[in-house]
Each structure stands twice: as C-alpha cells, then as structure tokens.
Symmetry: C2
Subunit: 109 residues, 2 copies
C-alpha cells in the first residue's frame, strides 16, 4: 500500500504555499477540492492535463502542505489541510480561494 509523506505543520512555509498555488492547474484543483466538505477519491476531480502531469502537480501540493493523501484499501483519498493552514497563516487560503472564484467569473481563460 502506497504511503504518502506529508510535511508537519512546522515544516510548511508561506512561500511554499504561494508557489504551489501559483500554477493555474493546481489552483483550480484546490478550488474544486474546496467545494467538497469531505475528502475525495483521487481522480474524482476532472483536470485538463495528463495523469502523469497531474501526479506531479499533486506531489507539489502535498509537499507544500496544502493537501493530504491517504490510501484506504485500494482507494486513494485526498483532502485539503485548510484547518491547519488557517491556524498557521490566517486568512491566506480563504482570500486566495475567494479571489480565484472571482477571477474565474470575470475572465475568459
């Protein structure tokens, strides 16, 4: 069973978070995941890139401390670490996700 490594909250850096969110594919994935209250099956969220490319993006998000991934039986499940992030960097994820929603509404990508 695949084990995923995650940074502890102390290891998560602000610049690491900002870098991880600075890619449109990753930011959109985080926005999509944010729309669910619970963890989601890996692959359940549609993305516009190849599976191998998405694996790279998910690793960047995981290593930055934005998502948590675990396996349960044969399933892989992913969730946002919003509570931890908000405790360490109050308002950052919330304002970025809201700004991403607004940008989506006012721009044609």
């Amino acid at each position: 069973m695949k084990q995923y490594q995650h940074p502890t909250i102390d290891q998560i850096t602000l610049t690491g978070i900002l870098h991880a969110l600075s890619d449109p594919v990753r930011l959109n994935f985080v926005r999509s995941l944010d729309q669910y209250a619970t963890e989601q099956r890996c692959g359940a969220i549609a993305t516009p890139v190849a599976k191998s490319t998405m694996s790279h993006h998910l690793r960047v998000l995981r290593e930055a401390g934005i998502i948590r991934t675990r396996t349960e039986g044969t399933q892989c499940l992913t969730s946002l670490r919003l509570g931890e992030l908000d405790a360490k960097f109050p308002g950052v994820m919330d304002s970025v996700l809201k700004a991403a929603d607004r940008s989506e509404l006012t721009s044609t990508p």
Copy 2:
C-alpha cells in the same frame, strides 16, 4: 529617462501575484516596502542579494503588478500597488503580508 512598463489592473492575474510573492527575497522586499506609507527610492531598502539579482526580482514584481516604479529627475521611486490589488483580490495581499510577519517572528531563516 528610463520608462517602466506596468500591467493594467485587468492584466494582473492571481497566479502571477502568487508566483511573484513565492520567492523569499521578493516577499521580504514587499514586506519592507509595506512598512513605509509613501514610495521609496530604489535601493533604499536593503536586500541580501546582488544588485543585478535584485533588478530581476524587481522586474518580476513589477510585471506581476505588485509594485510601481517611476523616475523623477535622476531618482527611481518604487511603491506597492496595494489599493489596486485589494480592489481586485480582496484580502490576499493583506493576509499574505500578515502571515509573512508572523512567519518571520516564529522561524529562523
């Protein structure tokens, strides 16, 4: 007299902002500039990198729409575009700058 190009508010993207702030040198420069209410002379803010490296960082910040640079006589002056950014992405710059202040207090770089 050198003329600097700046993106219009419509050209500024959220991912561009996040990318520009994801570098520790750039984030620290923005924090320092934020501590002044008025525009500052270019070079007035001490940075830990060579002048040529800093020129690159300043260009990234300018092209992302985070700073505005202008010349007045022989002087080069720089300021943050906080008002414009907050109108387009409410709370993003504020929460990132506050989180950067907190990180500085709790970590040893």
